[in-house]
């Protein structure tokens, strides 16, 4: 007996997922626990394994589609069994008019866009994947599957009537369009540059001519938002809008640190990076000025006793922040090993959700890219982030004499709701102490 497979919950916070690749094609045999697809969730790319044994009869959503939890993605059954009768079921309570081409195009059904867009009818991907269904009908129910910012809690997209008309005419899928109007409403200007040929917009009908305003071959490159990009955009916007940032910068003497690293790498025979050294130094400084290891909540200030340091790691499409747990309890070499392992897994997109959450303090290092100093955006709910600049060779004054020296700038971004200026300054003074007298890094 064929049955519909829904999008499962693949991470604790997942509300929707993007099908990255199908590992099975229609007609393939599927075993229990066999890999069906890879799904990009809000945190990581997860494996979507089958709970059933049978034949993959029908794929309802093409790769790249965003699907909300519990929405149908495929039909599994016996080989040769027909899946067609299940597809209307997969659409849940989709109004009959949405599946009936002639009536869907009449003004009568056009007068009920609200009902067509209820979450119950959210099986749009199904209709998008079945060219047999009328283009107009598909366009009409398309908003149901919308997951962009313009989607309300009830799953209904907010778009002006004119935008809906344009979407029908140009066969645009509004799900990936960001609304810039009141309350996130998609308005006409948000469609500028969106043509049917761009991957943002999934054609649901025969391709139509590109919008005449754009010269052929001169269209901007449109890159659909990945889940990671969505998460970055959402979290950093929240941070900058809601967290009152202020910034403290110190310029430390890094001469001893450079010398220590050179000798350590030569004499111990293990390579540690400046970043490893800074992470350990920060862990020591936090132990001495623990007030920066804190978090604001509307009810109370939370001072952490654990020192879990999030380390920003650049990956192909953005960045992630794996967490070095209990950094204050680890030796320099343990920290170095841990960061290497996490970075490798981050670049392979294999980090688990739990490896990227629960940090108490962040470090972002752009020194290796030649950045002298910068101010980082706080990674909520943490209370502070340290931005590490490059080590510069420059003349310094020592005992009233100008000598060659090594300097490094460190900027602490603080959430003023929980970390005040004096607290941040005390932490930076401790950090300066550790970096300028770095043998502690080996001892502690």
């Amino acid at each position: 007996m064929a049955r519909v497979i829904d999008m499962p919950k693949l991470s604790p916070t997942m509300e929707e997922g993007q099908i990255v690749t199908w590992h099975k094609k229609e007609g393939d045999a599927v075993e229990v626990d066999e890999l069906l697809a890879e799904v990009e969730t809000d945190k990581a790319t997860m494996e979507f394994r089958s709970f059933d044994r049978g034949t993959l009869l029908k794929i309802l959503v093409p790769p790249g589609s965003m699907v909300r939890l519990g929405e149908p993605v495929a039909v599994i059954g016996k080989s040769g069994e027909s899946a067609e009768h299940l597809i209307p079921n997969a659409r849940g309570a989709a109004p009959p008019s949405a599946a009936a081409p002639p009536s869907a195009a009449t003004p009568a059904s056009a007068a009920t866009p609200a009902s067509a867009a209820t979450p119950a009818s959210a099986a749009t991907p199904a209709s998008a994947a079945t060219p047999a269904s009328a283009p107009v009908a598909a366009a009409f129910v398309a908003p149901a599957a919308i997951v962009a910012a313009s989607v309300g809690a009830d799953g209904r997209v907010k778009a002006s009537p004119y935008v809906r008309k344009l979407a029908r005419e140009r066969s645009l899928d509004l799900r990936s369009v960001h609304g810039s109007g009141t309350g996130g409403r998609i308005v006409a200007r948000d469609l500028e540059g969106a043509s049917t040929s761009s991957p943002t917009v999934i054609p649901v009908a025969a391709p139509t001519a590109p919008t005449p305003t754009l010269a052929l071959g001169r269209e901007p490159r449109i890159k659909p938002l990945s889940m990671m990009r969505r998460t970055i955009a959402r979290r950093l916007t929240e941070s900058k809008q809601q967290v009152p940032h202020f910034y403290l910068t110190i310029d430390v003497d890094a001469g001893a640190l450079v010398e220590l690293r050179t000798r350590f790498n030569a004499e111990v025979g293990r390579k540690v990076s400046f970043n490893d050294l800074v992470v350990k130094a920060v862990a020591i400084a936090i132990a001495r000025a623990p007030e920066v290891n804190a978090q604001f909540t509307p009810e109370a200030l939370v001072y952490h006793r654990r020192v879990d340091i999030s380390v920003a790691v650049a990956v192909d499409d953005g960045l992630v922040t794996p967490v070095v747990r209990d950094a204050d309890q680890l030796t320099l070499l343990q920290i170095s090993d841990k960061i290497q392992a996490l970075s490798l897994r981050a670049r392979e997109r294999k980090l688990g959700v739990e490896e990227m959450t629960g940090g108490t303090f962040s470090i972002s290092n752009l020194g290796m890219h030649g950045i002298d100093e910068f101010a980082a955006v706080i990674n909520p709910p943490e209370g502070a982030i340290l931005a590490v600049g490059a080590i510069r060779s420059e003349p310094v004054v020592k005992n009233d004499v100008v000598v060659p020296g090594k300097r490094m700038k460190l900027t602490l971004s603080c959430d003023h709701r929980v970390v005040d200026g004096a607290v941040g300054a005390k932490f930076l003074a401790e950090l300066r102490g550790v970096i300028e007298h770095p043998l502690q890094i080996l001892a502690l």
Binding site: P161, Y162, V163, K165, G181, T182
Partner: protein, 327 residues
């Protein structure tokens, strides 16, 4: 073309129609000996004599009723209300006689009458004399209501009103009487039910009539400097209403603001909004906003009065809102 003031255009229309048709006469308070409270009828007594330019006592219900009776028996009266505020006293005549008799008589009677006078705000005439009466009258089937903004339309539409076989309410404005403009020479008649594009534009449609058309044009100039290109529609005729011009313009601009004098509850603006949302729903990119007189009786204090009357700055803010330049 001849340049003239609004009051001269109204006067010319009356004089030309009185020359053309001996059934036409003018009646109202101060229209004859005093030459008109706003000098609209200046010189007409001398020209047409006291049988056709008739002073009345302060009895709006009386002379409105006499006018309706005269129209029923074949004359073509022009009844001047010194201001439309005073028509409130004659409301029963307009509502129950002028508007109803054709229907109630099964088509045996017609009431070819024009009621005219200044409407809307003036300068510090107090709350009882600052009404925008069109909102009461457009509600009534059987009445035609027009409110031209320019001397040309004033002349052409008044001539059309006098020639109409049904009651027409012709709304002028104290603050429009001195406005100058070109008026075509000859027998210039502007039919009802046709709006006018006062300014072409592509980003937002500003819909107005009477005095507020000029405020909208001022707002459109300021908005052009901000890069927002407004189309200004002068409705001219409020009942019948030109739906086609609304749909055509909104199909081009996708956004609309209706600006007029009168309180925000109901009224002409609400009617315009209803037509647009019904006839051009799929063209709308933003909710339609209205800019109206504030929802209070008109204050006498000059500054407060100007605050209550819709001004260009409020029109500008509304256009910026529907073009999503501000919340």
């Amino acid at each position: 073309m001849k340049s003239m003031r609004y009051r001269e255009a109204v006067r010319e229309a009356i004089a030309e129609e009185m020359e053309r048709d001996s059934r036409v006469f003018l009646m109202g308070e101060e229209v004859a000996q005093y030459q008109g409270a706003y000098k609209v009828s200046e010189g007409l007594l001398e020209r047409f004599g006291e049988k056709r330019i008739i002073d009345t006592p302060i009895t709006e219900a009386g002379f409105a009723g006499i006018g309706i009776g005269a129209a029923i028996v074949g004359l073509r009266p022009i009844i001047e209300f010194m201001t439309w505020n005073f028509s409130a006293v004659a409301f029963d005549q307009l509502l129950n006689n002028a508007a109803k008799l054709r229907q109630m008589s099964g088509g045996q009677l017609s009431v070819p009458i024009v009621f005219r006078g200044p409407n809307g705000s003036a300068r510090q005439v107090g709350s009882q004399h600052s009404h925008s009466m069109e909102h009461f009258y457009v509600h009534v089937p059987g009445l035609k209501v027009v409110a031209p903004a320019t001397p040309a339309d004033a002349k052409g539409m008044l001539k059309a009103a006098i020639r109409d076989d049904d009651p027409v309410l012709f709304l002028e404005s104290e603050t429009l009487y001195s406005v100058k403009g070109d008026v075509p020479e000859g027998d210039y008649v502007v039919p009802f039910g046709k709006g006018r594009i006062a300014r072409e534009g592509k980003d937002c449609t500003l819909i107005s009539y009477s005095r507020m058309v000029h405020v909208c044009l001022e707002a459109a100039e300021a908005l052009a400097a901000k890069g927002i290109d407004c189309e200004v529609i002068d409705l001219r005729s409020l009942r019948p209403l030109d739906e086609e011009i609304l749909v055509q313009s909104i199909s081009k601009t996708h956004r609309a603001v209706v600006a007029y004098e009168g309180w925000p509850y109901g009224g002409v603006g609400a009617e315009v909004v209803d037509r647009i949302q019904r006839l051009a729903f799929d063209e709308l990119d933003a909710p339609i906003l209205r800019v109206t007189t504030l929802d209070v009786p008109m204050p006498y204090n000059a500054k407060l009065e100007q605050h209550v009357i819709p001004q260009a700055d409020r029109v500008i803010a509304a256009v910026e809102a529907v073009t999503y330049r501000r919340d």
